[in-house]
């Protein structure tokens, strides 16, 4: 077959294929160089990891801590200062429906089998506070015949096997070496799979930043030696925080000196928020 006999279509295909051939050659070279570069980079990374430099900040080494959180529900008075402080500390959207920590009220009325449960975002409670930016429990059961009532503070459980981390498609949420589950807001694409996956309802979609959001145990405070804001402001000591590896820390003593339990242990998430004073209906 002579070249002159080749149809224009075939000639175009041949030109394309010859270009492709050259492209493959160059791409191969680039891949080779890239592989070499990656190998060098990996070596450099393992060096930086092995050098033992303090991470994530120069004064704080995350391999030396294992954080844990305690809640003594028998002490909680439902003042909601924790909710208020958390909002200010972490720049959480100023509505009653977005929050990183919250307090539930369980009220058993005489003659009723199931508790009545409300939190600060219940319309009656918003009305009592007068604003979505202020938080207060309305005294709505003042004149009712109450058999039993109590408050239960809740927050992210920073699970050892977090379902939310497992479902994240982009690697935007992860568990740190010191036991805190964090969200990388730069990598989060806002798909909210994690919001669905959390069995505790601890995550929410931050409409201002268009990302998933949740409690960090105030990672910026605890890495500086401070307490999380909610623990700092609690007037009755219902919230306890500390290092589980330090036997004298408040949380170690709390777990040792009380019979504690966690929420929904059957989900297999292995939560790290330990409760005292839960009731059968609290989940």
């Amino acid at each position: 077959m002579k070249e002159t006999e080749i149809s224009p279509a075939l000639a175009a295909r041949r030109r394309f294929l010859s270009k492709l051939g050259r492209a493959v050659t160059y791409a191969g070279a680039v891949v080779g160089a890239g592989a070499l570069g990656t190998a060098q980079k990996t070596a450099a990374k393992s060096e930086s990891g092995a050098s033992g430099g303090s991470f994530p900040t120069k004064d704080y080494d995350w391999t030396k801590h294992r954080w844990g959180y305690g809640v003594d529900a028998t002490k909680c008075i439902g003042c909601l200062r924790c909710v208020d402080a958390c909002k200010r500390e972490n720049d959480v959207p100023g509505t009653a429906h977005h929050f990183r920590t919250w307090v539930e009220r369980y009220v058993y009325l005489e003659g009723e089998d199931r508790p009545r449960i409300d939190s600060h975002h219940d319309p009656v409670n918003i009305e009592a506070s007068g604003s979505q930016r202020e938080y207060r429990f309305a005294n709505r059961y003042k004149d009712a015949k109450v058999d039993k009532a109590f408050f239960v503070p809740k927050l992210c459980n920073h699970c050892t096997h977090p379902a939310c981390v497992q479902v994240c498609p982009t690697g935007a949420t992860y568990r740190t070496k010191d036991g805190v589950v964090l969200i990388d807001h730069k990598y989060c694409i806002g798909c909210a799979y994690c919001v669905q996956a959390c069995p505790y309802g601890a995550r929410f979609f931050n409409y201002e930043k268009q990302v998933s959001d949740k409690c960090t145990w105030c990672y910026h405070r605890i890495t500086r030696g401070l307490q999380p804001a909610c623990v700092e402001v609690c007037p009755v000591g219902a919230r306890i925080f500390g290092d589980l590896d330090d036997k004298q820390s408040p949380i170690s003593q709390f777990v040792r000196n009380n019979r504690v339990r966690v929420l929904k242990p059957e989900t297999g998430n292995a939560p790290n928020v330990y409760y005292v004073g839960l009731d059968k209906d609290v989940i």
Binding site: F150, T176, K186
Partner: protein, 332 residues
């Protein structure tokens, strides 16, 4: 191998290679450093600035307030719970002093099902009658002085001590002969015991009272208080005219939460004012205002009073009858 198969394999290899390059190019350096996430995000989150600064930060400037607060029962409620987060203070201005304390304090102290018994709780409407909490309570030291110390003295022994040491100024029956010295008869014994003890310890000073009170024993203080508390407060009305009683009544609206509408309060920790000597009331109010007599509660309520207000108040209380004892007042 047929040509078209070779081309297909070539294409797959090319695609794989491009994908590998793209992944290598677009994945940031720190991504797999510790796991399937960007390690650089950890220092980013750890580097956020704390907003709540903790009481130690406040103490640096507000030393006195901090000392008072940390020595009292509100020490578990940190400064920033009531005054707001301190980040940017003082550079960016003052932090708020809560005005509506009835709303603020009731967040914790409103009686409510679910609150543990150990938490001090009140039915707000009955407790204060709509008054602001700081009218009676100092938020930094909220417990009212004297409430917890009932007087257990011997009135007869107190009477003997009175005759020997006090009767020359305060009158044989506790009714003072002049307008500058207070009547003591019928006064709240708990209040008297607290004030006498303050003179004795030097917490409260007076050129005349200090040397008289210092040698008294604690038993003497209790006996005297019991003695005065047992006397009748009936006294001839003072002839002195210091101000306008009607105008004083308007000012006295701010005092009713503790001292009652007519100067007869419901709490024995606070003094009865009805029928008291007007010149004495003027002197005491001015002493509170000037800080010579120290009481955080009285200092704050007298701060805004003019000399005319004080004179009018004195005239109002001096003209009231001391006999209307409200219900619930315990006989000392």
């Amino acid at each position: 191998m047929p040509k078209h198969i070779v081309r297909l394999i070539t294409l797959i290899v090319v695609f794989g290679a491009l994908a590998a390059v793209a992944k290598w190019y677009f994945t940031v350096d720190s991504f797999y450093e510790f796991g399937h996430y960007r390690a650089a995000s950890v220092p980013e989150i750890a580097g956020l600035e704390p907003v709540f600064m903790t009481p130690g930060y406040c103490q640096a400037c507000h030393t006195e307030r901090h000392a008072q607060w940390s020595a009292n029962s509100h020490k578990s409620v940190i400064c920033e719970v009531c005054h707001g987060a301190a980040q940017g203070h003082p550079q960016n201005g003052k932090l708020p002093i809560p005005k509506d304390t009835a709303k603020l304090c009731s967040l914790c102290h409103e009686s409510m099902p679910g609150r543990p018994r150990t938490q001090p709780q009140i039915a707000v409407a009955q407790h204060s009658g709509g008054q602001q909490c700081i009218v009676c309570h100092n938020a930094h030291a909220p417990k009212l002085a004297g409430v917890v110390a009932p007087v257990a003295g011997d009135a007869v022994a107190g009477g003997k001590k009175h005759a020997a040491a006090c009767a020359s100024c305060h009158g044989e029956k506790g009714i003072s002969p002049n307008d500058s010295w207070p009547n003591l008869a019928g006064q709240s014994a708990i209040y008297l015991a607290r004030i006498l003890a303050a003179y004795k310890s030097g917490d409260q000073k007076d050129v005349v009272m200090t040397p008289i009170a210092q040698p008294l024993s604690s038993v003497d203080v209790q006996n005297l208080a019991a003695f005065y508390g047992s006397l009748s407060c009936a006294a001839p009305p003072s002839q002195m005219r210091v101000g306008d009683a009607a105008a004083g009544k308007a000012v006295a609206a701010n005092c009713t939460a503790c001292h009652g509408e007519t100067g007869v309060g419901s709490n024995p920790a606070w003094p009865m004012l009805a029928g008291q000597k007007p010149a004495y009331l003027v002197n005491v109010l001015k002493a509170f205002r000037a800080g010579l007599r120290k009481d955080p509660m009285m200092a704050s309520v007298t701060r805004g009073l003019s000399d005319t207000d004080i004179a009018n108040l004195a005239a109002y209380y001096a003209g009231q009858s001391c006999k209307e004892k409200p219900q619930g007042r315990k006989a000392p």
